[in-house]
C-alpha cells in the first residue's frame, strides 16, 4: 500500500517529464487530470482497511532513508490534496490556454502535485522536505504562467519567500535532527522538545512552514501569486499548498505545553485573520479579495495550532479542529476560485449568471460559518479545542465572533465585486462538471465534513449541534449589519482603493536588493580591488612574481622542460632530507 502511494507520487513526476517529450504529449494531455485519482483511491482504501492501525514502509536506500506511511492526519491531507488536484486538473482542461502554455502548465501542475502529495505520505524529515521543495519549485512555474512582466515579479517574490521559508524550516529540522536518534518526523518533533537548541528549532520551523500558510508579514507573496496564476493553479495553491505548511507544523512541532508559545502563535493567527480582512476589504479585484480571504482564513488553523501548545491541551480535539478546518477551507476555496472562471465565462449568458453568483454566495456563507454549512461545523470544532479554562477558551468567543464579522464583510465585498464584474485577471473557463463537484462538496459540507472526519478516524467530540452554531451565528449577523453600516462608504462607491503597504515596502526592498545593493557592492569591491592592486604595485609583488615565473612560462612550449623542473624539485627534496636526516 505504502509503496503504491510513493509510486503514485513518483509517477506524477515521471508523467510531468514525459509530457515534455513531443511524441508523448497527446497521451499525457489525455490522462494528466486523472493522475491524482490513484492517490485518492489509495487514501480511501487505506482508510477502510487496517482499522486505524498504522503501518510504515521503509525504503532504506532511498534519499536518507525514505519512510512512507499514512496516519490519520496524513490520510486526511492526502485525500484533500488529491481531491483538489483532481478537480483543478479536470477544470484546467476546459480553461483557456494556448497550446504552448498548456504544455508547460501540465508539467508544473504535475510536478507540484507530485511534491504536495509526497509530503502527505512522508514520515521522515528528509523526504518531507524533499517533497516540500519540489512543491515550491513547481509552484513557480504555475505563478509565472502568463509570462508578463508583473507575473515574473510575482514569481520572483514567490520563489524568494518560498526559498527563505524552506531554508528556515530546514535549519530548524537540522537543529532538531542533530539531537535525535533518527530522521523520522516523530523523532525530530520529540527532539525539538528535549534538545538544547529545541526552542530555536521550534520557531524556525514555525516561521519556515508559516511562509506557505501566510504568516503576516511573510504573506506578501500570496496576493501577488494568486492574482497572476491561472485559476486552477490558484485553487491548488489556496486549497492544498497552504495546507502543506499546516501539515509541516503538525508533523514537526511538538505540543510544548507552554503558555507563552501558545500565546505567540495565537497572536500570529489572530493577526492573519484580521489583517487579511482589512486589506481584503479594499481590494478592487474579486481574485485578490479572495486571496486575502485565504490569508485571513488560514489564521484559524493557526489559532488551532496555538491550542495544541497549551498546557493540558487535548491533542485530539486540537488536531480535529486543524484537520477539520483545513478540509472545510480547502474545498470551499476551490469552489470559490474555480467559480470565478465560470463567472467570467457566463458573462454572455445572463440566465446562467445568477446561478453562479448564488453558488458563490453559498460558498461565501460556508466560509463565514453560517449554520448548516461546513464552516459552522469547522468553527465549532475550533471553538471546542484547547484546554478548559485555558487561554484559548477565554478569548475564543469574542475573537471568533469578531473574525466572523470580518469574514462576512469581506465575503460581501467579494460578491459585490463579482456582481460588478471586477475580475480582470480571472480567465474564462468551462469546467462546469469539476466546479459542480466541488460546489456539491460545499453544499453538502455540513453533512460531509463530520462524516469524512469520522471515516478518517479523527473523532471530534463533543459534536457541535446545529442549534449551537445558530447561537454562534446570531451575534455575527447583527455585528455584520452594524459593521456594514459603519463602513458604508466602501460599498457605495466604486472604490479604487488599493492601499497595499507591503507593495510600497516591497518596491523599496526590491530596489535596495536588486539595484542599490549590487551597485554599492560593485563600487565597494572595485575600490577594494583597486586599493589592493595599488598595494601590490607598491610592494612590487606582481613584478617580482612575473619575473620569477617568467622561466616557468616557457614551460608550455616543451614538455621536457616540465619534466626537468619536476625532477629538479625531486632533487631539491632529496637534498633537503638527505642533509637533514639524522
Amino acid at each position: 500500500m505504502n509503496a503504491l502511494l510513493l509510486l503514485s507520487s513518483a509517477m506524477a513526476f515521471s508523467l510531468a517529464a514525459l509530457g515534455l517529450w513531443r511524441p508523448a504529449e497527446p497521451f499525457v494531455q489525455r490522462i494528466y487530470p486523472w493522475v491524482p485519482a490513484p492517490a485518492l483511491l489509495l487514501g480511501w482504501i487505506s482508510s477502510r482497511q487496517a482499522g486505524g492501525a498504522e503501518s510504515v514502509t521503509r525504503f532504506p536506500d532511498l534519499l536518507l532513508g525514505v519512510t512512507v506511511g499514512l496516519d490519520d492526519v496524513g490520510r486526511a491531507f492526502l485525500i484533500l490534496t488529491a481531491a483538489i488536484w483532481l478537480l483543478a486538473g479536470l477544470y484546467s482542461r476546459r480553461s483557456s490556454m494556448s497550446e504552448g502554455q498548456r504544455r508547460l502548465f501540465r508539467f508544473y501542475f504535475l510536478a507540484t502535485y507530485s511534491g504536495t502529495v509526497g509530503l502527505t505520505i512522508a514520515q521522515d524529515a528528509p523526504t518531507f522536505y524533499a517533497a516540500y521543495a519540489l512543491m515550491t519549485i513547481g509552484g513557480y512555474g504555475l505563478v509565472i504562467q502568463t509570462r508578463t512582466q508583473a507575473a515574473m515579479i510575482a514569481g520572483r517574490v514567490y520563489i524568494v519567500v518560498g526559498l527563505i521559508g524552506e531554508m528556515l524550516a530546514l535549519a530548524g529540522i537540522i537543529l532538531a535532527a542533530s539531537g535525535s536518534t533518527g530522521f523520522s518526523t516523530r523523532e525530530i518533533a520529540s527532539s525539538l522538545r528535549t534538545s538544547p537548541s529545541g526552542a530555536w528549532g521550534f520557531w524556525l520551523i514555525f516561521i519556515g512552514f508559516g511562509t506557505k500558510v501566510g504568516l503576516v508579514p511573510l504573506h506578501f507573496w500570496i496576493p501577488r501569486s494568486y492574482y497572476w496564476a491561472p485559476l486552477p493553479a490558484v485553487a491548488v495553491f489556496s486549497g492544498a499548498m497552504t495546507k502543506a505548511g499546516i501539515l509541516g507544523w503538525l508533523r514537526f512541532l511538538p505540543p510544548t505545553e507552554s503558555l507563552s508559545d501558545s500565546a505567540v502563535i495565537l497572536g500570529a493567527g489572530a493577526l492573519m485573520a484580521f489583517y487579511g480582512v482589512f486589506f481584503g476589504l479594499v481590494q478592487t479585484q474579486a481574485k485578490t479579495a479572495l486571496a486575502f480571504s485565504s490569508l485571513s482564513q488560514m489564521g484559524y488553523p493557526t489559532m488551532a495550532l496555538a491550542t495544541l501548545m497549551e498546557p493540558g491541551a487535548a491533542l485530539e480535539r486540537s488536531t480535529a479542529a486543524i484537520v477539520g478546518y483545513s478540509l472545510h477551507h480547502g474545498i470551499t476555496k476551490v469552489a470559490l476560485f474555480l467559480g470565478l472562471g465560470l463567472l467570467v465565462q457566463s458573462r454572455a449568458r445572463p440566465r446562467v449568471r445568477p446561478f453562479v453568483i448564488a453558488a458563490l454566495a453559498f460558498c461565501s456563507l460556508a466560509l463565514i460559518g453560517f449554520p448548516w454549512t461546513s464552516g459552522a461545523y469547522a468553527k465549532a470544532l475550533l471553538k471546542n479545542a484547547g484546554a478548559a479554562g485555558g487561554l484559548w477558551q477565554t478569548v475564543a468567543s469574542p475573537l471568533m465572533t469578531l473574525g466572523s464579522i470580518g469574514t462576512t464583510l469581506l465575503m460581501f465585498r467579494f460578491l459585490l465585486l463579482c456582481v460588478r464584474g471586477d475580475h480582470s485577471q480571472a480567465q474564462p473557463a468551462r469546467g462546469w462538471i469539476s466546479w459542480g463537484l466541488s460546489f456539491a462538496g460545499v453544499l453538502l459540507g455540513a453533512w460531509l465534513l463530520p462524516l469524512s472526519l469520522s471515516l478518517l478516524g479523527i473523532e471530534a467530540r463533543p459534536r457541535p449541534s446545529s442549534t449551537e452554531s445558530l447561537h454562534m451565528y446570531i451575534p455575527v449577523f447583527f455585528g455584520s449589519l452594524l459593521a456594514a453600516a459603519l463602513t458604508h462608504r466602501i460599498w457605495i462607491k466604486r472604490s479604487h482603493l488599493t492601499p497595499r503597504p507591503f507593495d510600497t515596502i516591497l518596491q523599496g526592498v526590491y530596489k535596495a536588493v536588486w539595484e542599490d545593493f549590487p551597485r554599492d557592492m560593485n563600487q565597494l569591491t572595485t575600490v577594494v580591488a583597486e586599493r589592493l592592486v595599488q598595494i601590490r604595485r607598491r610592494l612590487g609583488i606582481g613584478r617580482r612574481a612575473q619575473r620569477a615565473v617568467e622561466a616557468a612560462r616557457r614551460l608550455h612550449t616543451s614538455w621536457a622542460l616540465g619534466c626537468a623542473l619536476f625532477m629538479a624539485i625531486g632533487a631539491l627534496l632529496w637534498a633537503f632530507f638527505a642533509g637533514g636526516a639524522p
Binding site: 542533530s178 612560462r553 627534496l573
Partner: protein, 501 residues
C-alpha cells in the same frame, strides 16, 4: 598479499603510460590517441573497482619504495583514498570523452592529452599516497603538469592566468614542503594513520604543531582556494572547458581539499587538532570564504567566472566540515568531496557546451536557451539545484550532514553560514535557470539558435553524453544516498574507521 603488491603502481601506470604514448604520437593520429586515452581510462576504472572490491573484503594494497635514508614512498589504498580514487577515475573517464569531443580539430591535441593524463597520474598519486612526502611529490607534480593545460590556448590572457596560477601554487607548495619537513624533524617519517600520529607532541611542542598546521593549511589552502588565497582560480577559467571541469571538480582544487582532510585526520588526528585549538580559526576562515565567494559570484557576468566563485564557496564546505569537531561533520565533508565534484563538473560541461555550440559565455546570454539545448540545460538545472542544496540532488545530502555536524558540535553559527550560503547560491544560480527556461531569446540570440541545427542531437554526442552522465550521477547520488554504495555510504564507512580508533 604479494600478488596485490603492484596494484597501486598499476593505478598510476594506467594513466602515465598513455601520457608517454600520446606525446610520441603525431598530431593527426587521432584514432591511436583516442584508443590510448580511453583504454587507460577504462582500465583505471576497472582497477579501481577491483581495488574497491578487495578493500571491502579486507585486503590491503600497498607499495613501498625507499627514497632516501628512512624516507619511503608509500602508495596504498585505504578508505579515504578509495573515495578519491573512485571519484577521480570515473570523472576522468567522463572528462576524457568530453575532451575528445571538445577539442575536435583544434591544434596541439597531443600535448594536451599528454598533460591531461599526467594530471590524472598526479591526482591518482595524491589519492594513493600513504605519507606526507609522497603526497608532497605528487602535489607538486600536479601543480606543474596542470600549467600547460591552463595555458593551452596560448593567448595572452591564458598565459597570464598560467603565470598567476604557478605563482600561487608553487608558493603554496613551498609552504607545504616546509610543513612536511618540520613534521619529519619533529616526529620522523610518519605514515598517514587514522587518528593521526602527532598526539605525543601536543604537550611539549604545542607551538611547533600549531605552526606546522598553519604552514600546511596555507600551503594546501592555495589549491583549495581559501580566501585570500583564491585569486588564481577565477583567472584559470580561461582554460578550455574540459580542463576547467577537471580543475574544479577533481584534480587541483580537490587535491587541496583532500590534503586538508589527510592532514587533519591522518597526520594530526581529529582529536589532536581539536586539542590544539587550530580547527576553530580554520572553520572561521572557511565560513568567511563560503560567504565571500558566494557574494562575489553574484556579480560575475561571465558564466565560467561565476562557476569559479561558486567552486571557491563550495570547496570551503569541505573544509568547514573537516574543521567541525565530531564524526557527522566529517561525514558531510567527505560526502561533499564527491558530491561537489560531480555537480560542478556537470556545470562546467554545460558551460562548455553552451560556449561550443552557441558561443555563449555570459550569463545574460542565456535567455531562452533551455528550449534550444534542453538536455544540456536540464543537466545545468540539476547541477544548480544541487549547489543550492535542493533535494533530491546530491548537494542536499552533504548540506544536511554538514549542518547536522555543526549543530551537533553546537556551532550554530555554521548552520547559519550554510543557510545563508544556500540562499546566495540560489540568488546566483536561479536567475540563470530562470532565464534559460522562462525568458525569450533576443533576436540576435535566436538567430544563433537558428544558425546551427544538428540533425539529431542538440550538440555532438561526445559532449552531450558526459554531461548527461554526470548530471545523472548527481541525481542518483542524492536519490540513493542512504544505500551503502553511494558516496554517503562510503563516507560513512570511512568515518566509522576514523572515529573508532
Amino acid at each position: 598479499m604479494s600478488w596485490s603488491f603492484p596494484v597501486p603502481l598499476l593505478l598510476l601506470i594506467t594513466s602515465f603510460v598513455p601520457a608517454l604514448l600520446i606525446i610520441m604520437l603525431k598530431e593527426e593520429q587521432k584514432l591511436a590517441r583516442t584508443v590510448a586515452n580511453l583504454t587507460g581510462a577504462i582500465l583505471k576504472v576497472a582497477l579501481v573497482a577491483y581495488v574497491a572490491y578487495g578493500v571491502r573484503l579486507g585486503e590491503k594494497f600497498e607499495a613501498r619504495f625507499p627514497l632516501i635514508s628512512d624516507l619511503e614512498m608509500v602508495l596504498r589504498v585505504d578508505d579515504i583514498s578509495l573515495l578519491f580514487l573512485a571519484l577521480s577515475s570515473i570523472l576522468w573517464l567522463v572528462t576524457t570523452v568530453y575532451a575528445i569531443g571538445y577539442l575536435e580539430g583544434s591544434p596541439n591535441r597531443s600535448r594536451f592529452f599528454c598533460f591531461f593524463s599526467l594530471c590524472v597520474t598526479a591526482t591518482m598519486g595524491i589519492s594513493l599516497s600513504g605519507n606526507l612526502i609522497t603526497f608532497l611529490i605528487f602535489y607538486e607534480m600536479l601543480s606543474l603538469v596542470t600549467y600547460p593545460l591552463i595555458v593551452h590556448r596560448g593567448t595572452e590572457k591564458s598565459l597570464r592566468a598560467g603565470r598567476i596560477y604557478l605563482a600561487y601554487t608553487l608558493a603554496g607548495g613551498t609552504l607545504l614542503m616546509m610543513g612536511t619537513a618540520w613534521v619529519y624533524v619533529l616526529a620522523g617519517p610518519v605514515d598517514f594513520t587514522a587518528g593521526g600520529s602527532l598526539h605525543p607532541f601536543v604537550e611539549g611542542d604545542r607551538g611547533s604543531l600549531v605552526a606546522i598546521f598553519a604552514l600546511m593549511m596555507i600551503g594546501l589552502g592555495v589549491k583549495t582556494a581559501l580566501v585570500p588565497l583564491h585569486g588564481w582560480l577565477p583567472e584559470a577559467m580561461v582554460a578550455p572547458a574540459p580542463v576547467s571541469a577537471l580543475l574544479h571538480a577533481v584534480a587541483v582544487v580537490k587535491a587541496g581539499a583532500f590534503g586538508i582532510i589527510r592532514v587533519v585526520y591522518d597526520v594530526f588526528g581529529a582529536e589532536t587538532s581539536d586539542r590544539l585549538g587550530v580547527l576553530a580559526p580554520l572553520a572561521a576562515l572557511a565560513s568567511f570564504t563560503i560567504l565571500y565567494a558566494s557574494v562575489r559570484a553574484l556579480y560575475q557576468t561571465d558564466l565560467k567566472r561565476r562557476l569559479a566563485y561558486s567552486t571557491i564557496g563550495q570547496l570551503s564546505y569541505i573544509v568547514l566540515g573537516t574543521s567541525i569537531a565530531g564524526p557527522i561533520g566529517t561525514l558531510g565533508a567527505l560526502t561533499h568531496l564527491v558530491h561537489q565534484g560531480v555537480m560542478k563538473i556537470t556545470l562546467f560541461f554545460c558551460a562548455g557546451n553552451l560556449a561550443e555550440e552557441l558561443g555563449i559565455s555570459r550569463v545574460d546570454q542565456l535567455d531562452g536557451v533551455g528550449w534550444r539545448m534542453p538536455l544540456t540545460m536540464a543537466a545545468f538545472t540539476i547541477g544548480a539545484f544541487g549547489m543550492i542544496g535542493l533535494p533530491p540532488v546530491a548537494g542536499f545530502v552533504s548540506k544536511w550532514y554538514l549542518g547536522m555536524g555543526a549543530a551537533a558540535a553546537e556551532d550554530y553559527f555554521f548552520v547559519l553560514v550554510l543557510i545563508l550560503s544556500s540562499l546566495l547560491n540560489a540568488a546566483y544560480f536561479l536567475p540563470l535557470v530562470h532565464a534559460a527556461w522562462f525568458k525569450s531569446p533576443s533576436p540576435e540570440l535566436s538567430a544563433r539558435f537558428e544558425a546551427r541545427t544538428h540533425a539529431r542531437w542538440e550538440i555532438s554526442l561526445l559532449l552531450l553524453a558526459p554531461t548527461m552522465t554526470t548530471a545523472a550521477f548527481s541525481l542518483l547520488a542524492g536519490l540513493f544516498a542512504a544505500s551503502p554504495y553511494s558516496p554517503l555510504g562510503l563516507a560513512r564507512m570511512i568515518t566509522r574507521g576514523a572515529y573508532l580508533q
